[in-house]
Amino acid sequence: MSHIVETCDIVRVFKGHDKPVKALDKVSIYIDEGEIFGLLGPNGAGKTTLIKILTTLLLPTKGEAYVGGFSVSKEAHKVRQMISLVSGGETPGYGILSASENLWFFSQLYGLSSSSAKARIKQLMTDLEFDEYAKTRMSKLSTGYKQRLNLARGLLNNPKVLFLDEPTLGLDVLTSKKLRAYIVDWAKREKEGTVLLTTHYMAEADEMCDRVAIIDRGRILACDSPLRLKQKLEDNFIMKVEVSSVQADFSFVDDMKGVIGYSQTRSIQTDTTSFKVMLTEEKIFSKIMLKLKEQNLKILSANEVEPTLEDVYISLVGRGFEEGEKTTHET
């Protein structure tokens, strides 16, 4: 067994409303033992679908995947013994039970003995800093603490591979930070602890992951360490411009030569638009500035920026992550 997780040309087609939806299109990735692997992609990219297949909740339409050397479709019971799944934005558990009672419930389903279950629950609650809420009803916990509980549940069985589907979805900055740090720490501490995490937060993928696969419309577009992915953009120029008016229109760059891609972020609160454009040559930027002046937009700032994973995505797809949405926020 060379890789702890491996997928071979996974295709998944859903029925859909009027026509079939291809959620995954020949996805082939591998993850090594001990790695934190990120699956980064916009909404509807197919991240959850891939996680569901790997955790044996869903069958692939075509192709095969292996976890720990076991086929997810044919040896699901073997796969289940070494994994667990934590999905952000969900609170699996019974609202009427306390946090610790919920953990106890799952520990027993995993067949843990009373003493080791108790010790493990206590440890996890201390590590994830919610022992003061141990006796609190789950329904009364805040979103952040619910997610801590959710993560603790996912760690009860000491999984070899931990699957995290947008683990920090909807959490405040501080809690997100804590959970990320804890997960990284867990993977290190467990030596062979492997994590597959999906996210649409660039920083999360960049900060946590040893390697990242960028997925869009069911296809893996690139897969490498965050650093190397960004290094590939070294020859390009990435410029960021902030202009007044939330209605600024940058679509004119569509027809310009030398423009690899761009993204725009609009803020209604400040009535500004932030525009990031990737160019093959620096001199194209002056043409863009000229066009902007023609539109009578006030330019608040303009400068070259270091490439991020979002820029990797822009370079691959030609648009930003949150394109098409009316208002977005920086992530």
Partner: protein, 284 residues
Amino acid sequence: MAITAVLRTIKQAVWIGWKVETNWADPLVFAIYYLIRPIAGLLIVGFIFLIGSFVSGIVDPGLFAFLFIGNNFFIYVTQIMIMMSMLIHEDRAHYEVLKHIYLTPGSLQWYIVGRALNGVMNASVSLVLTLGLGVLIFQFGMGIPIPLNWLGIDLGLLAVGLLVGIVCFMAIGFILCGINIMTSKVQFMLPEYIGGILYLFGGVVFLPELLPWWGQHFSNALPITYFLRIMRFSFLHNTGFDVHVNLVYLAATTVITVIVGLAFFRVAMFKARRDGLIDKKEEY
């Protein structure tokens, strides 16, 4: 799965079931399932008996006892089916635990069994309640001398029959679980329909002999028919049936039901996994 792990899972499921149920926000629902339903069943029995007595001109307390026992033990069928029919949707969409239970190796079916045991406990409470109330209303209130010797109940036979019957009704419950996992809304009416059919053909209040020939054949194929005969025999002793033959039939029909039920559930789980329904929350 090791036997201790199975027992742990069942124990937790019973406990969760009890917690969830004793916490019903709507006392009306609680009342309907635990009180009104069994009492309504009791009144129907009384009503049927009175009409029968009126039409025939004969008041036969033996017939009353026959109806009374049959109806009371039918509670196990309804309670187990309702319990098992509700739990999939609740655990999938409301508590969001279904997929995680499914992912804990091998525990889903034992968890379901544990939850069904809650149905058994509820039914037992209802049973005691209706037996008591029935005696109070019909024997003491209306003066029907129910020919029941409370001290002469064949407890061994009762226990064996009940145990086999419960296994059988759980197997039917697994079919309901399978249907619910493949549908996006709770099939509220399904246990009612199935319950209705079993009520009609299982000889709860209508003797199978009164059914048309096809109905009699159907009745003979139902485990509930034999279950009720054994329950009646353990209370009333002389019911004109050979108890051993009926035990064998009950066991045989139960084995078939268990095989069919578990096979159906397996196929349903496979389809659910193929179609991505195990964690389905919204419509696509």
